[in-house]
């Protein structure tokens, strides 16, 4: 499962993910899977023990993950944030603008949308409102 960053494809760093529901009382450098129907604020007491939160995108039309990311960032989460699943290149800038650091897709999707398309998506025009802010 390749990871897409601003500089192109990167190899899967395959961390073991803990379901957000099963967050352990102790432990550092946790890596968490946060479903897109869960309440992100439940994680906020543990933010400083978490190094990665992965938010799933079950299909490209399901935009809940974007709001989860904004809320996590708004709550003060500063660790790594990853969108994982079915996103298309056109959504890459949205994911970045909402606070995701990178995107992870499966190999079949990566074959259909090669690295050069993701790099091109990065240059999508920024809407005027964000440019003026």
């Amino acid at each position: 499962m390749p990871i897409i960053t601003d500089t192109g494809f990167a190899p899967d760093d395959a961390p073991d993910l803990i379901e957000a529901d099963d967050l352990p009382e102790t432990g550092e450098r946790l890596t968490i899977m946060l479903p897109n129907d869960a309440d992100p604020s439940a994680l906020s007491p543990a933010f400083n023990r978490i190094t990665l939160i992965v938010v799933p995108f079950p299909n490209a039309a399901d935009g809940r993950g974007f709001s989860i990311a904004k809320r996590l960032r708004g709550l003060g989460y500063r660790g790594h944030l990853r969108a994982q699943g079915h996103l298309i290149t056109d959504q890459y800038p949205f994911a970045r603008q909402c606070g995701f650091d990178d995107v992870q897709i499966d190999s079949a999707l990566a074959a259909r949308m090669p690295e050069e398309l993701w790099l091109r998506a990065k240059t999508r025009a920024i809407p005027p409102f964000l440019r003026r802010a």
Binding site: R64, F66, K70, D90, Q91, A95, M113, A125, P127, P128
Partner: protein, 561 residues
């Protein structure tokens, strides 16, 4: 009027290039049809019965003559010589070819227009009072707010993949001409006791198969808090709106199922969180830019004129057609000696909202010459000249007569709203345009229409209610029953600040039966109203539906007696 700066120009241009690229990727197979469709829709392109339909935004209904001429040119060059003005301040071209779309979008960009977010599950074209900046009863011009919302919502990274479409309407006047209570969010501008400007925020209105009247979620929202508050509502909706069933995916269903109080609590909590975030709310537009937007909508330099025009009075005395047109198709302007003109797109036998290339050009010329270069599109599918001198009305009327646009029926029974229906729309279950044409012929006699007075008929060709039938004094909904068109009549709807959803009169009827039934209904109303000034809707409220049901279904009368 708002003018694009270099950011807007860049953006609209690059969206055209981007859409060409998206279409190419679909052709190359990088995108599946499911992935491409939302991108196509967010650029305003539908696949319809006979062809592609392109829906172009006319933000808050305001345009200048140059833009109107471009709309005409597009109709001439890439469509079949006409366009259809919709109830959502858009224009639709029903006969576009996929291969021409890029060129059409470029032509639009030349005049600061676009088709962005006129479809898809995103925040749609923002609508506003079509008399904005002109109406005598206005508290404040709603368009700077609408423009700000348009900019904020354009390619909003968080809200481009919502559970369903999302429509925002703004009014700056207590007389609601923007149907704010039938939108996902309605904003009514007002001032609090201290005189500070703000909004009443209404949420969860809508039509479609489950019509709902919007509910007030915030009585008074200070003007500066608008964007973080909208962002809060949208975030709650994006996270919790239903995605399992597209018929239950609008925010009205979320409000209904969650309950207003709980919804309010969630939105306020989100809002409080945003206001606390470091450096204040995350979405705070640059104040300089807000001031700039407001400056673009500064009122034009009105001449100092007497309240009456001697020239007009004289012309009216000898020209009854002009007199009737002035009486029905003008509205009070805030400046002395000025008026607001409604150009009716509902001449006898016309398809409501359709305008030909030639008509668009005539209207553009009139707007340029007589209305400070401004035109408006109303949700009643008419075209407005917002700033007209009373002195100029005779010339304008004469020019409209020549162009076949002088119908003197604004607000009357023949000022019918109708969606495209089965003639164009892939979702339709029945035709709506021929029904509108039939009714407009039946009530064509001006004296009769005048006697009936204010009366709204609204027609939709299926349950989606694009023709606003729920809020027509009389609504007509076209369905299909075992292969035959069947029309259901609703009574008592109201699209103004006293918004009401009409109730069903009884069983469906065939297309041929609709006209006679409406004639009987109107005769019954003329019989029972207590004065010539009592509008149908007032009589309906006084007497209830029974006398009108009896008129529509005379065969039931003996049984009921």
């Amino acid at each position: 009027m708002y003018r694009y700066d270099e950011f807007d120009h860049d953006y609209v241009r690059s969206r055209v290039a981007e859409f060409r690229d998206q279409t190419q990727r679909r052709i190359d197979g990088a995108l599946t049809e499911d992935e491409y469709k939302p991108l196509r829709l967010m650029n305003g392109l539908y696949l319809q019965l006979h062809a592609y339909m392109l829906r172009v935004a006319i933000p808050y209904g305001t345009l200048n003559s140059r833009q109107m001429r471009t709309l005409a040119m597009i109709a001439e060059r890439w469509d079949e010589g006409y366009g259809h003005f919709t109830t959502r301040q858009n224009i639709q071209y029903n006969w576009t070819k996929l291969t021409d779309v890029g060129d059409i979008l470029d032509a639009l960009a030349d005049v600061e227009m676009h088709a962005i977010q006129t479809s898809g599950n995103c925040i749609r074209n923002v609508t506003a009072d079509h008399f904005a900046g002109a109406a005598a009863d206005e508290i404040e011009d709603p368009r700077p707010t609408a423009e700000l919302v348009r900019q904020w919502s354009t390619a909003h990274p968080e809200f481009a993949y919502l559970p369903r479409k999302f429509k925002v309407a703004v009014t700056g006047s207590p007389n609601d001409r923007a149907v704010t209570k039938a939108h996902d969010i309605g904003l009514r501008m007002l001032r609090n006791e201290a005189g500070e400007p703000g909004f009443e925020v209404i949420v969860g209105g809508g039509m479609g198969r489950t019509p709902m009247i919007g509910k007030v979620i915030r009585d008074f929202l200070p003007k500066d808090h608008l964007l973080p508050y909208l962002e809060s509502i949208l975030r709650v909706y994006n996270l919790h709106g239903r995605r399992d069933n597209k018929y239950k995916a609008r925010i009205k269903i979320l409000v209904h199922e969650t309950g207003l109080e709980e919804m309010q609590a969630q939105v306020e909590a989100e809002f409080a969180r945003q206001m606390r975030e470091e450096g204040g709310p995350v979405v705070s537009p640059n104040p300089e830019h807000i001031a700039q937007i407001a400056a673009y909508f500064a009122p034009p330099d009105f001449a100092k004129l007497p309240a009456q025009s001697a020239k007009l009075t004289k012309a009216i005395a000898t020209d009854p057609a002009l007199a009737a047109w002035v009486e029905n198709n003008t509205a009070d302007h805030r400046a002395s000696g000025y008026t607001i003109v409604t150009i009716s797109m509902k001449g006898m036998g016309d398809a409501p909202g359709d305008a030909t290339t030639a008509q668009m050009r005539v209207m553009a010329d009139l707007g340029e010459r007589y209305s400070h270069d401004e035109l408006r599109i109303s949700h009643e599918q008419n075209v407005i000249l917002p700033h007209v001198k009373l002195d100029d009305l005779p010339e304008i009327h004469a020019a409209l007569q020549k162009a076949g646009l002088a119908a003197a029926n604004a607000g009357l029974i023949t000022d019918i709203i109708a969606c495209p229906g089965l003639d164009y729309c892939a979702l339709a279950t029945a035709r709506s345009i021929p029904v509108a044409q039939d009714l407009s012929q039946r009530f064509a006699e001006p004296a009769r229409a005048k006697a009936i007075g204010n009366f709204t008929i609204k027609i939709s060709g299926c349950i989606n209610a694009c023709g606003h039938h729920h809020v027509g004094h009389v609504g007509i909904l076209g369905l299909e029953k075992s292969g035959i068109e069947s029309y259901q009549i609703t009574l008592g709807g109201d699209h103004t600040e006293t918004l009401a959803i009409g109730e069903r009169a009884g069983p469906g009827m065939t297309a041929e039966e609709v006209g006679p039934a409406i004639e009987r209904l109107v005769d019954a109303y003329l019989d029972v109203r207590d004065s010539d000034d009592e509008r149908f809707i007032d009589t309906f409220r006084r007497l209830g539906a029974d006398p009108f049901k009896a008129a529509i279904y005379p065969e039931n009368n003996c049984a009921a007696a």
